[in-house]
Amino acid sequence: MDTGQLHIWLAAVANKDAGAFRSLYDASSPKLFGFALRILSKRELAEEVLQESFVNIWNNAGSYQPSLAAPMTWMTTIVRNRAFDLLRRLDHDVEIDADNFDMEVMNALEANDPTPIESLQLTQDAKALARCFARLEGLHRQAMALAFYHDLSHSEVAEQMKLPMGTVKTWIRRGLDKLRTCLSKLESA
């Protein structure tokens, strides 16, 4: 996905350009819908969230600041907030699947060389994150993904993974530290 192109469409959507809105929707909705679907696990709930999110994107594109967030980051934040709102209204009564990542992404993260990551259909930001995720242990990744995708606390992640809470806390803290170091190295490289 070309970030520059998403920028151009978002700028046009700020001017209430319905055609650019359609292009933006076509380019980004499969990823955003896939994400909402992992959170909510039911298509009709994920579609409700996707619709609300794009109403929000249409209404607020004018306040989007390119210097603060990449277009996908901005749109993903909207989708995640909406999905978590709905999740809380449902009292978290949805199935939680431990496999949050696409098989292809999982395989690329487990591979010994960086080639599979480069060939994934991801934004540059997501590729950078994947390169750094690949250096973490699988279980640490899983703990972070469970919290990120399912709005889980340390103790809820521990319950899901059948591990002591202290272990999960330490893993997540170390994982976040390692990610930060790795991403800032990539940025300055």
Binding site: K31, A46, D102, M144
Partner: protein, 244 residues
Amino acid sequence: MNIQDKPDLQQKLAAEYVLGTLRGGARRRFETWLRSDRPLQQLVTQWQGNLLPMAEFSKAAQPSAGVWQALEKRLDLNRTQRANAVEDRWAFWRNLHEDLSFWRGLGMFSTAAALVLVSLLLSKQQVEPALPVGNYVATLSDDKAQPIAVVSGDTKRRQLVIRMVAAQHIAADKSLELWAVYKDGKVRSLGLVASQGIITLPMPEYMSEQATPLLAVTLEPKGGSGNPEKPTGPIVFKGSWLQT
């Protein structure tokens, strides 16, 4: 508690706030600090940039057509579209991603030849002195992320230098035109550029006064679009305009 002089704690709290594992009273306290603490806001923005791309790791899925239909109805998009058709400033940007046939017609250099040119340019630049602070640069690439041109802006001399990294073969009745693209969608012509070699153009003051997020080159009829605020042809390469 004061967290301002505890950078490690700030990092940890901002990260867990974005991840979602900062809960209860700790989360509420953090949100109170966040309202007035600019550096802490920046830290949260950074962590959003770090972690939100994790969403892209999930398997993509196609929503049903009903979602778009509902959006069209709720936001009255068809009417908006008709209103825009009167002054269709955006048709050109909209269509550019669909305009793939153009790429085949351009007769671009082969990838290998283009790569050789890029490496030649890069090795040449290494022996040149670094650009002084306060200047600007953009690498313009095509839709395959292949660098085509490098534009540098000298704020003292008020001059833009455009180097074609990969020479372009364009029809005799066409010209390449360079545009500054603003966040609000407005565009301004900077002049015509050559299909190969190096040319210089005057650098308007607005290019350093306010943010020009993007430079783009379009394929126009010979002599240019004729309207300095409206291109007529497709974008052939583009790139961000960055301060060095």
